[in-house]
Amino acid sequence: MKEIVVIIGGGIAGLEAASQLLKLGYSPIIVEKSDRLGGHVARWNRLFPDMTPAQDLVSELIASSKDANIFLNTEISFINRLKDSYNIMLSNGISIISKYILYTTGFRLFEAQKKEEYGYGIYNQVITNADLEHWFNTNKDDRISGKDIKSIGFVHCVGSRDEKARNSQCSKVCCITAIKQAIELKEKYPEAEIYCFYMDLRLFGKKFEDFYTKAQRDHGIHFIRGRVSEVSENINGQVIVKAEDTLAGKPLKVTLDLLVLMSGMVCNPDSTKSASMLSLPIDSDGFLKSSDNVFHITSSPRKGIYYAGACTGPKTVPETLAEARSAVLEIHSTITGEAR
């Protein structure tokens, strides 16, 4: 009988893991809370640094994992530990016994309205990175479509590296996402002035620095080192941003037609909820805590429980896919080791 592996979460980590498990001859079961697969990436338009269409990636992953058992609109009701396996009760009434559970529960975007001073949900022309990707995908958003947009701002680190928001972690992808989105908007609105307000730019990945140089050299995007202090609205419905330019040593005020808040990654409360059923440890940043953060990042302290992707902290898409493969290899090694 094929070994069953329960994968909690049908985002890209869960799909890639299912695909790899199928190749190795196992029987993965994906449990997905929402009514569709692909997680956050399925809502994204293009991916840095090659501007790969996100939908291509998600479609390929769905196609390669189509032989997995997939439960959509399904949540974990409870998990309890048996002698050498786990009993996973789903919200659809199905109970699964498995020795192996892979958490691919991902992250949740920081709720931008919690940063009240930025005015998301208060001022019409303040949107988030996710809203902008939605517009790239659908061209439907009254705040952007049909508007004469001549000035745009991006606020980095919204809810990331922010003690006041109780999220001290860096969300890792916001810097490069803001640069990507700024370039995309500049291509749509060539006459627009675009400003990125950043604390410091964390451009660690392959071609990230090239992207940053391109944004400045080819697109004239302005990078201002300083945090935004407050956002307000003028009588014309434009947003007025007050910030500090720490390189110039001056406060500044700029009037914008659109302000994009780069909401960061925070832990998915669904992760911690189901993790609590197995007394899995939670790290100080609220994400699931790996056995260690160097050698066993996809392992939990519990036998048979594994992690992949942003459930243990902010990750890029390539990192997420690599972790999914790594976790599958670890599960495979364990199974084959036990069989021996």
Binding site: Q113, E116, E117, G121, I122, Y123, N124, E230, S232, E233, N234, I235, I240
Partner: protein, 356 residues
């Protein structure tokens, strides 16, 4: 602007405000600036709403101005505040209402500091005993007096003779609300509506018929800012802050400004005169300024009190255009008459700022 977004925030920042039995402390400076406001607060609470509000003539300044001007250390301000609490305790009250925004901020900061550092509270108790032989209980509830008027805003609306509506057009008056910086910017959860979009004055305006204006420099300081004004060399900075606010609100054509801080109405009122005389610029209609009122004065107006009994003649900016818009009757001859119709003499009128 998305009104529902603000409503969501307002619902997140509500505070418990007891219905009755308050120990009341005055501001150091309000009686000089707008002398009827505190009297009107007591009259509304006691006579109109039938509440028990106790006042003790032995209370002093809270030390807030000196503390924020860096002329006394926090321990001194704490000991002063401890004495105020001792007076409240001796009077048998546990709900403490401060008339001044800076006092409210000072009390809040001190109570929070004692919560975080109990050893400091112990030290202050010792200092108070050594200096005054007094002991105290901390207030069970702390409020700014605008919190109380906010709580009773609908009862006041029910008893009101006037609404904040233009009697000619039937349109709600356009009202700028200005919150004192020390109300909730330091501790957002302690103010009604929080720090970014406070509701304490907006709620009054909505209940009394007006429309609140949200303009770009709404959150900006009135210009007082203690060290901006009290250090004489900084006064032009104080003025430039006020100027910035008026330039920002001008396109919205406000009919009035409502405030809840001792300094804000004074500076927003008096600096209009300075701007008019130095720059020739006025912000009201037809050469007048924009009337700046305390929330007690606005409450008094809607309840039908005589504008001159509310002390509106002591404002630099004439309130008459506002009174005319609402339809409040007044006798111009009585404007500069004091108690028993004593003649207070007429002030010299400005050159550029139109006044009656």
């Amino acid at each position: 602007m998305i009104y529902q977004g603000k409503q969501k925030i307002w619902s997140d920042y509500q505070k418990e405000i007891p219905d009755d039995h308050w120990y009341y402390v005055r501001s150091c400076i309000r009686q000089n600036f707008f002398p009827a406001s505190e009297k009107m607060f007591l009259e509304i609470c006691r006579d109109v709403l039938g509440k028990d509000v106790h006042e003790n003539e032995h209370h002093t300044t809270c030390g807030g101005i000196a503390y924020h001007c860096d002329t006394i250390p926090q321990e001194t301000a704490m000991t002063i505040v401890a004495r105020q609490f001792a007076l409240m305790t001796e009077a048998g009250y546990e709900n403490y209402a401060a008339s001044c925004i800076t006092s409210f901020g000072n009390y809040t900061e001190i109570l929070e500091t004692w919560h975080e550092f109990p050893e400091l509270e112990t030290k202050i108790r010792e200092l108070l005993w050594k200096s005054c032989r007094k002991e105290f209980k901390k207030p069970k509830y702390l409020a700014h007096t605008s919190d109380l008027i906010y709580k009773f805003r609908n009862e006041i609306a029910e008893k009101a003779k006037f609404r904040l509506v233009n009697k000619e057009t039937g349109e709600p008056l356009r009202v700028v609300e200005h919150i004192g910086c020390h109300y909730s910017k330091m501790f957002p959860s302690k103010g009604v509506g929080g720090a970014e979009y406070p509701y304490v004055l907006a709620g009054m305006i909505e209940s009394w018929g007006g429309n609140v204006i949200d303009y770009p420099e709404r959150r900006h300081c009135c210009g007082y800012g203690f060290r901006q004004y009290h250090v004489k060399a900084n006064r032009s900075y104080s003025l430039s802050n006020t100027y910035k606010k008026f330039e920002s609100m001008e396109p919205y054509k406000p009919d009035m400004i409502i405030t809840n801080c001792p300094g804000c109405p004074y500076f927003l009122d008096r600096w209009q005169y300075v701007i008019a005389e130095t720059e020739g610029k006025t912000y009201g209609q037809n050469g007048f300024g924009i009337p700046v009122l305390t929330y007690e004065e606005v409450a008094g107006l809607v309840l039908g009190y005589d504008p001159w009994d509310l002390g509106l003649q002591l404002h630099q900016v004439g309130a008459e255009p506002l009174l005319d818009k609402i339809g409040i009757e007044y006798n111009p001859e009585d404007k500069y008459k004091g108690l028993d119709k004593k003649d207070l003499m007429r002030p010299e009128l400005p050159t550029n700022l139109k006044c009656f």
